[in-house]
């Protein structure tokens, strides 16, 4: 019955004729095969796979708006290959299996040329088999734990070497930090990042005793004990810093507790990898003055491109206070790269676009030009920003040039010999030691 | 306690020195009572006298703080749970008629039948001629043959009371505890119920709790009056109702 809703009344008569035999099944088939829009010829469809409801809506809604904004801007310029871009928005509702279902729907039913989407690693992992099976393109805009290079995915967020390691370097050099607290939410990104950092710190001569690792559940709200522990750990006579991979929601109570227990950035600085302008919008940042974040983009960076982007974004959203953040810039870069690749091969055929993408360059918003690498990651500058009283960041340090994203961490035993190379080797996990594709080998 | 070695008493049901309190309130206070095999006993008493609590104790729903509760002179009921006590042969009809409303009258009786009550037994139950004959017989006794396929929930109040008595019959226990069987019944129904109970009494021991004095009188059996959790008076209905303290309790002091 409900299938009728999905397709036009036009199909009704045909369906009714066949309903006598195996109506339900065939009806289902008819409904689905006729549903794809006939408009497919004069527009290019772009899938947007970001949660609009549920727990992840807090972060992902903005990214949906970003892509809509970018498509709008592109269409003003005449679209791509002379066709308008048509966004297809779905809501995977922060539900991981639903991500896979929606991805399948976007590719099979809506026949999109490319998908921009996902935030959490698990959502990306969930849709990965779908993109591989149906051979389509996913642009993933969020910093993540690395250890992945897939033919169908382009990672425009930071790999650990584009965020975590430069941040630690900064603290070591500029703040002379000798003792480290690695605090994170208990899931894959913090676990992996902390593993990488631990190995990196040890390689720099930091003793095991000088590293404290702590994990908390998602949405942890009672930070009293942990903040007290950090305070205690920090009073051992050596300069101490906290490297925080605490996930979005838990940050506000964490920072509130830090502020209230009187831990100032001058005593124990906290450098966070998941706290950006959007997250700070929910906190009174005065007590957090001087705590740090490492990103590849800050709204406060003054370049003409960034100022133009912010102005147009705020005009598009009709909200003069709307902030911008790093994953938005990642989508900005990714979207422009895709457009360039499509224009280069004059086709939206995923195979052609995938092959064309490595090597494509697109300006980022911080004054540089990012390039898509053969491992499907991009080059990005790394900035360290200090939290200011107005919820923005003040860039205190940046890498001299752009840093190339490593798909595989050099610090981890399992992946140090691996590289991703979809141009020469056509392989995401090429082992440079055995010269073979397929991981460590046995 | 010399409970287990010999039959301590010839009584079918034997309560001695039972105490129960709920949060400091003494619901049952040094209650002693004996019910001989084959006897029918009426229990009366004002609200809160502990009648229902006493039944709860006998059927294992409430555990007494102290005291002896023996069944058939040997079995210590305070150590058993409701299911075990029911299996021993003590059936109970509740104050508020409690039948399985969403099932048919016939199924209600079927469930009450004293046959294999294990999970396996019921899963592979196939029914037998003997069983359906017994159900037919009980239906006849409680005058619900015509209503056998009706849902129990659709019965009238009186019919539900009877159905519950019928379930007791199907259960075929040694002792029947009947809590206010005629509450809400018409005079005719009350009379019929009294007849029914007397008939059942021919081969079952019965304890009836009732407020309705006409009904108790009609039963014509030994009466025990409870008050504040202990026995106030015992004897024939005339003896009890002429007892000064009973009058005092019922009419207020």
């Amino acid at each position: 019955m409900l299938t009728q809703l999905t397709h036009g009344i036009a199909t009704m008569t045909r369906r009714r004729a066949l309903a006598a035999t195996a109506g339900l099944v065939l009806g289902l088939a008819a409904s689905s095969s006729l549903a794809p829009a006939q408009a497919a010829d004069d527009t290019i469809k772009v899938g947007i796979l970001h949660s609009l409801s549920g727990t992840m809506a807090i972060s992902e809604t903005t990214l949906k708006d970003t892509i809509l904004f970018l498509i709008d801007e592109q269409n003003k310029k005449g679209g791509v290959l002379g066709k308008k871009l048509e966004p297809v928005v779905v809501d995977p509702a922060s539900n991981w299996p639903l991500f896979a279902e929606k991805a399948r729907e976007l590719i099979t039913k809506d026949k999109v040329a490319v998908v921009f989407g996902c935030w959490t690693s698990v959502s990306r992992k969930s849709v990965l088999p779908v993109f591989k099976e149906l051979n389509n393109i996913l642009f993933y805009p969020v910093q993540y734990e690395g250890e992945e290079s897939e033919r169908n995915v382009f990672y425009t967020g930071a790999a650990p070497n584009q965020q975590a390691i430069p941040a630690v370097d900064y603290l070591m050099k500029e703040e002379k930090v000798k003792r480290w607290v690695l605090a994170g939410t208990d899931y894959v990104y913090p676990r992996t990042t902390n593993k990488i950092l631990e190995a990196y710190l040890k390689s720099k001569g930091v003793a095991q005793d000088d590293i404290m690792i702590n994990y908390t559940p998602f949405g942890h709200s009672d930070w009293q004990t942990i903040v007290a522990d950090i305070k205690k750990f920090g009073s051992a006579g050596k300069k101490t810093a906290v490297v925080s991979t605490i996930n979005g929601d838990a940050n506000v109570p964490f920072y509130k507790e830090l502020g209230n227990q009187g831990i100032k950035a001058t005593d124990i600085p906290v450098v966070a990898f998941s706290v950006g302008e959007e997250e700070l919008a929910g906190i009174d940042t005065k007590p957090l003055l001087g705590h740090l974040a490492a990103w590849n983009y800050f709204e406060s960076i003054k370049t003409p491109a960034n100022e133009k982007f912010i102005k147009e974004w705020q005009a598009y959203t009709k909200n003069p206070k709307r902030v911008t953040n790093d994953p938005m810039e990642a989508h900005y870069i990714g979207f422009n790269m895709w457009v360039k690749a499509v224009e280069k091969v004059k086709s939206t055929d995923p195979d052609k676009v995938i092959d064309a993408l490595p090597g494509i360059e697109a300006p980022n918003l911080t004054g540089g030009v990012s390039q898509m690498l053969p491992n499907h990651h991009i080059t990005k500058p790394v900035f360290i920003g200090e939290i200011k009283g107005n919820g923005q960041f003040d860039v205190v340090w940046k890498t001299p040039g752009l840093v190339a994203g490593d798909a595989w961490s050099k610090e981890l035993e399992g992946s140090k010999d691996l590289i991703g190379d979809w141009v020469g080797k056509k392989c995401g996990n090429f082992n440079t030691k055995t010269n073979k594709c397929g991981g460590q080998g046995s | 306690m010399n409970v287990m070695d010999t039959r301590a008493t010839s009584a079918m049901l034997y309560l001695d020195g039972v105490h129960v309190s709920f949060d400091g309130f003494h619901a049952i206070n040094n209650l002693s009572l004996a019910l001989e095999p084959g006897e029918m006993r009426a229990i009366i008493g004002p609200n809160g006298a502990g009648k229902t609590t006493m039944m709860d104790i006998i059927t294992g729903k409430t555990k007494p703080d102290e005291g002896t509760v023996l069944f058939d002179g040997t079995v210590d009921l305070t150590r058993l749970d409701e299911t075990r006590i029911a299996e021993l042969g003590i059936g109970r009809k509740f104050q508020k008629p409690t039948v399985f409303e969403s099932q048919t009258v016939q199924d209600n009786l079927l469930l009450a039948l004293n046959v294999d009550h294990s999970v396996r037994g019921t899963l592979f139950w196939r029914g037998s001629k003997a069983e359906s004959e017994r159900i037919d017989k009980v239906l006849e006794t409680i005058r619900l043959t015509d209503a056998r396929n009706r849902l129990a929930g659709s019965l009238s109040h009186g019919q539900k009371q009877w159905l519950e008595i019928g379930m007791l019959l199907a259960q075929d226990p040694k002792v029947l505890l009947v809590d206010e069987p005629v509450a809400g019944m018409t005079d005719v129904e009350t009379h019929l119920t009294a007849e029914l109970l007397k008939e059942i009494n021919r081969n079952h021991t019965i304890m009836v709790v009732e407020h309705d004095m006409t009904f108790v009188r009609e039963l014509g059996v030994k009466v025990t009056c409870l008050h504040e959790g202990s026995v106030l008076a015992e004897g024939s209905i005339d003896q009890v109702s002429s007892n000064e303290r009973v009058v005092e309790v019922y009419l207020g002091r």
Binding site: L5, V89, G438, G441 | L111, S118, R126
Partner: protein, 387 residues
Amino acid sequence: MTPHILTRSLDRAATAFVLIVAAIGVLIPLSNLLLPQGSMFQVPTYLVALWGKYVCYAILALSIDLIWGYCGILSLGHGAFFALGGYAMGMYLMRQIGSRGVYGNPILPDFMVFLNWSKLPWYWYGFDKFWFAALMVLLVPGLLAFCFGWLAFRSRVTGVYLSIITQAMTYALLLAFFRNDFGFGGNNGLTDFKDILGFNVQAEGTRAALFLLSCLALIIAFLISRAIVASKLGKVLIAVRDAESRTRFLGYRVESYKLFVFTLSACMAGVAGALYVPQVGIINPSEFAPANSIEAVIWVAVGGRGTLVGAALGAVVVNYAKTFFTSGPLAPYWLFMLGALFILVTLLLPKGIVGTFNSWWEKARHSSPDADSAAREDGIGAPNAAE
């Protein structure tokens, strides 16, 4: 005389249901495989996977209905059994990847390699064999349900209290499976499956077969449930649901009945989870989220509590609505609809779709008070087919 347990359970409506599910189970895969792509009547693969998912949900709904609809046990943690079954299957699929993982480690799954685990934890042993995994699919949820139920039913935790501790159970499992130390892949769970019994999980043929299997499992689960509710055991369960202590005073060991049906239901949920995982391609801790379990209860409520067909139907209808409303312009309002559905169904349609239909049907043919047994389908007062 009462007929055999199996024949007794197949009244007209039940037979119709079984036939429809069987037809769907055969025709959808056939249409998908045999008809040419793009043909009007070809069911695309993505719909096969989607409907496969619905069918798994239908089994889960059935298992919830068996305990809630018939025995009055409202479990708000049934998703836990579903997820455990899924994890057991996921572990098998993980082991089947072998050296095709991104790190190429022949034994360790990828997530263990990148967290520097040196060897396989003991509880992963045996999962490389399908029979073992299949056994675990039944055993793990069954055992958990048995232990949990044994404790809870014996101490007579009932009603709301039981619902809340089942919720605590699934919440505790959610937190535990989130932990990477636990060895089940943490938040990401298990994914990137390649083969099942030597067949590529993404191949159309495998999908079709999995769909057929799911339908088969639904039929079997339905028949088992039917057999139970149509037996005297079913009457006892309803008795427990309606008047638990009365049942006890009749000499039934209520806790055994509850334990039996709860454990069975958990096993069914486990099977549903196991079939779900290869079709969806991922299993992760979010399946343990209390919200998921509550949602599954709603499927049953929508379809009709205490009617097996209703439970299955409810699962399909609600999930279809979810698929439909989470795309397109209505996407941001999906939660409004789901929420409103909960409220409206409980207020206006307390018997659910099938239950309401049944009573309407009963009323329509009220002229004969001794209603035909088939008309009542597998409704609450499942009548004796002997009449």
